[in-house]
Symmetry: C2
Subunit: 279 residues, 2 copies
DNA sequence: TCGACACTTCTGGTCATACCTTTGACGGAT
DNA sequence: ATCCGTCAAAGGTATGACCAGAAGTGTCGA
């Protein structure tokens, strides 16, 4: 029936319209008192953060326009923008020019910004061993959880098929590879571990791209993934952990052999153009 | 006076001479290209991030004054400040009024901001089970690593003593408790896992405070810590993991019994004092 | 009547400028 | 030699204006 469709669309609009707060419910936003303990912009951050924790700001909500919100909070627009900027940097808010500022939507898997981890790696001189070690610890736990009774295996099997189908296309293989690990993480049922894994994996991703490009052992890699899949399918946590460990140890070995790690020389993050030195 | 885009771009180079900056500084910072389609402030972030990855900005370094740096990068001061703000929010830079802006120093254990995780918890409705599950996974791995041959046990033993000495002072016991886990993490030799653990633990800390306050089983808790310590001392990873798991499962049980989790009602992080009941 | 296009208006992004507050070092007074 | 006041430097905040992208609105033509 078209009732359903109309209702859904209407809901979206209603949602947007109602939560896009007009001046009428400005009572929600309390002006920051000139307590002046810390910096005013930090007080703005605290305000917004509290509103999120209290549930007054929900996923997908739109904040009032900056000019209005600044007036409501009793601060200037630059100060408000400083606060918004802070929360945007950690992935909680998102500003779009012309559209507004929104609380990041939550329907997708939560994402923790990995750039800070990447920067920490450079600043503290994190070793490849530590980075892979962290990933191994996370993914072994995840694999173990995924093997416990519960969820869907269909998407896992699907990615498996995709991997075998792209054994001669490293770039595409890598996509299925990543998806596979994402699916395992999703099957673990723990979104926090998933987010942390993504954080670490993102830092390692770029180097991995180079490794997989001239990889000759994709077959072997696919076999190991299948071993993981089977262990999960058979609900054998211990076996899943072992398989994941073996897989990641091999991946680490392959990567360390090819990449001149702890490379301070290259920007390891945010290299979007995957085809840079391939041509 | 309003002359449009071309004149504005020209302004960047034609304006005034670079007086006051040393040559070394001038060579380091390159102006951002105006042809970038992304946001200018993001370009600033990218610039600074690359300089850190390349090692041109090191831990503890001080950035040039905002007014000078803005000129060097060819952007306005507010735009530069937006970029600095982003990197400050993720814990990479730190600005002190009157002193300057510094790259965060690295001698101490790296810290990943936990406020984003805390906010994600509220936004996505993370359950207590997931949060504790993540911590358990992290700390079990850490305990296993710490039990492998290697490091110092002195500080661990020290914290053990402190715990037993403060069995009747919950607040102080908690401090030793936290220190103990930090020491175990340090002994694991993996600073990334340590940072991730701290992230999760920080979110759980506040609720834990309330739990430990009226705790009657501190003795039991201390015993479990000793079990962990012994396993690490005896270089028995499997035993260390088990002991850590048991300890955290008990802690979870105690905490879930007392705290009305997944409470959207309370601000779980950073409650320094003033924000809430200002009435 | 209906759809494509242009216009108006919001909204965030950037810029310039001015002033305040804090910091820290320099220099004079004790 | 020590202490303390002064002052320049540096970040923090405020104001106001304009730029650029997005969304909604209205008009015109098929």
């Amino acid at each position: 029936m078209r009732v359903g469709k109309i209702a859904r669309i209407g809901n979206r609009w209603l949602h947007k319209g109602m939560n896009g707060m007009t001046d009428s419910d400005g009572a929600k936003f309390k002006t920051v008192e000139p307590e002046r303990r810390g910096q005013t912009s930090e007080e703005v951050v605290t305000q917004l953060r509290s509103m999120i924790h209290r549930g007054e700001l929900r996923s997908g909500d739109r904040l009032p326009p900056e000019r209005d919100l600044a007036r409501l909070l009793g601060v200037s627009r630059p100060t408000l923008r400083a606060g918004i900027r802070s929360l945007s940097a950690v992935g909680v808010l998102e500003s779009r020019q012309g559209a507004g500022t929104f609380v990041v939507k939550a329907d997708e898997s939560p994402v923790l910004d990995s750039s800070s981890l990447s920067l920490m790696a450079s600043l503290h001189g994190f070793t490849s061993k530590e980075m892979f070690g962290a990933r191994r610890a996370l993914e072994m736990s995840i694999a173990g959880l995924a093997a416990e009774p519960g969820d869907q295996l269909a998407s896992l099997a699907e990615e498996m098929a995709g991997m075998y189908a792209s054994l001669d296309e490293p770039e595409e293989y890598l996509l299925h590879d990543m998806s596979f690990h994402q699916m395992v993480a999703a099957a673990s049922g723990n979104r926090i571990l998933t987010a942390l894994m993504n954080m670490v994996a993102a830092v390692l991703l770029d180097a991995r791209r180079k490794t997989v490009r001239r990889a000759h052992d994709l077959k072997e890699s696919a076999e190991m993934h299948r071993k993981i899949y089977r262990a999960i399918r058979d609900r054998n946590p211990e076996s899943a952990r072992d398989a994941m460990r073996d897989h990641l140890l091999l991946a680490q070995k392959a990567q360390e052999a090819e990449v001149d790690w702890p490379g301070r020389g290259a920007d390891q993050s945010q290299r979007k153009g995957a085809a840079e030195e391939s041509a």
